[in-house]
Symmetry: C2
Subunit: 430 residues, 2 copies
Amino acid sequence: MVSHPIRIGLLGCGNVGAAFAALVAQRADAIESLTGLQLRIARVAVRSVSRDRGIAFAPGVLTHDTAAVVSDPAVDVVIETMGGIEPARTLILEALKAGKPVITANKELLANVGPELYRAAEAAGVDLLFEAAVGGGIPIIRPLRESLKGERIKRVMGIVNGTTNYILTRMTESGASYHDALAEAQSLGYAERDPTADVEGYDAGAKAAILATIAFGAAVAAGDVYREGIAGVNDTDIAFAARLGYRIKLLAIADQYDDGSIGVRVHPAMVPVDHPLASVRDSYNAVFVEGEAVGNLMFYGRGAGGNPTASAVLGDTIDAAANLRSGTAASLGTLQPVRIRPIDDVESEYYLQLEVADQPGVLARVAQVFGAHGVSIRSMEQDGLGDRARIIFITHTAREADVQATLNELRQLEAVRQINGLLRVIANGS
Amino acid sequence: MVSHPIRIGLLGCGNVGAAFAALVAQRADAIESLTGLQLRIARVAVRSVSRDRGIAFAPGVLTHDTAAVVSDPAVDVVIETMGGIEPARTLILEALKAGKPVITANKELLANVGPELYRAAEAAGVDLLFEAAVGGGIPIIRPLRESLKGERIKRVMGIVNGTTNYILTRMTESGASYHDALAEAQSLGYAERDPTADVEGYDAGAKAAILATIAFGAAVAAGDVYREGIAGVNDTDIAFAARLGYRIKLLAIADQYDDGSIGVRVHPAMVPVDHPLASVRDSYNAVFVEGEAVGNLMFYGRGAGGNPTASAVLGDTIDAAANLRSGTAASLGTLQPVRIRPIDDVESEYYLQLEVADQPGVLARVAQVFGAHGVSIRSMEQDGLGDRARIIFITHTAREADVQATLNELRQLEAVRQINGLLRVIANGS
């Protein structure tokens, strides 16, 4: 096989970038003998040229100048691991315009200005690949883009944030409180000191937008995603979920409805214990896909970490390099404009936890409020708590707006002391 | 987008072929608007032209003549869903030689003469795609071929036969005997009247050979696979597995060792309950992949059935059609010759179930036999059974040859009445 040199320009050399450079050094010979592609890190743009990254770059490889890496005629493929929107966006557009394939792991960028970048790649006839942006090392973007291209996908539902999955797993398995589990995740390096992006669902929301875009061929942005985090999930919810045969997970859910509209949301949900997503523990991620012909699929693995993410970037790099050699490029097709279904019109089953005065007739009054809003109750359990009682409801499928109206009216009942938990319930067998 | 007609020649129109033709009819418009590829079934070779398949083919589409479909200048892509080795092999070689991409779901063919076909495709510069041959609708071949091309894969371990997984699930969850569970699988259409290919592991063995070939880039054939079926798994093994925190699954395991040799085997095994494969129930399939950088991955879904399999064939068809349009083809690279590690040299933990005379000193004599062969015992449990006792051993990691030598010597001990179960145990955390 004739060797074909591929010179890589790397933008950013943090956790993922450094792991990628190390992986290329380690695997280059094997890749060359398998594919004839001779991968080499030609230029690396970094903030600090002098910092030790544990990798010996040749003199002249490291630079401060990101734009120079992109425009360098000795760079064939550009890999962006800087994060953030600017200057990543401008650099990627420049690279694509220059006919250089781009690989990025930057979910924030794609969830905000993805369609602009996809169009630029399409116009230039150049690859823009981003397997690492969702689910770290898990091959999910490529299966959705390629293997399932002919499939009518109805739903993509994933555990796409490892930090929150770790916290919820600890709460479930060791009975830790939310705050203790978060502190543990922080001490292990799974959660940032400021955990907002993870626990409030922003990270999962960006990934949900990307998954919806790829699964449905529609331009969905982070701002289209309804979002609730896990800070409101308490020990009682966790315990009741277990008692009722569920586990609580932070899910990113993208649905395409029969009218073509798309609903995308991130929130904690009760998942039946025998659903494959319920077994996804600790910081693992998984994406569950429901297709019309293919049925249910799940893709499971490490959703973060330098090495798994670098592995996904490397897979994309080999693909882009092979396409570059043969003069082709992957295509996302034309993204369709799409109507986003507001959360009020989304349907689900619901779990509600109320504290009420322990008086005769309270349950009847509460039940009447549900009925008045057309929300039908599937099951109910009541526990005494001294002068109060705790009531747990699970509803049949109901519209979000009707459930919210029910809650609003319940709050006005004098006998209702507190409404603690509202969680969507994933139906069995889906 | 300019439309590009792709005329499909279909060899065989049974369960998968008919589901594929129906799926193409249903999805062709959506695929055209997404990709510009206009898929059309041009010719279909069938045994009986008059049989009703619930699909209205235009006059002249159906024919008895398989070779005429392949050579028809009005056929661009050939899809083989006939099964068996000949004439499928000859027809596929003809198609590749004529520059026509081939999609096949034929695991028997690939596991026996795959390398010949891969070489022919490589020589012709034409696609030979076979996502449907392993794991039905689950995208596993493409992720292994493409996403993980740069990854050093250490192990691929799968539940790749739905029939046996259904039987073992019934035995575990409802306490059914092997024979009752098999009869139930037969009545549901999950098992054939002659279930040999499934229950003796031949089907899983063919898939194991294909997985090993793709994962390790090495020519592995069905004959290289060590194989044991599930007929020897009994209620006691199932019950002990549950008690010890395991579930019994029929696994296809392909390992690449540090010396480059490859071991491929199919046998029932005890899987820890918190291993992702343990939650794969009923007739579902899943493939677990252990990579050096990417860590653990799992791909889960429907491993059989007309629609899921047709979905995988359709994904391959779109890919081959797009490659045909752009004048490229996927490549497996050059398959390396490889040393197959004999089962005797493979290491595992083991579960053993013995019935012994309930006399003083028996356990010491049995334990001494293990020790003499260097097999170290991790845990032991003993149950009284009247004048006999049942002893369950789980060993530390041991060589198969040493375990077999232990068994042979145990059989000669007068106090050992029966050796019932020998199962490999999948280590925790792998």
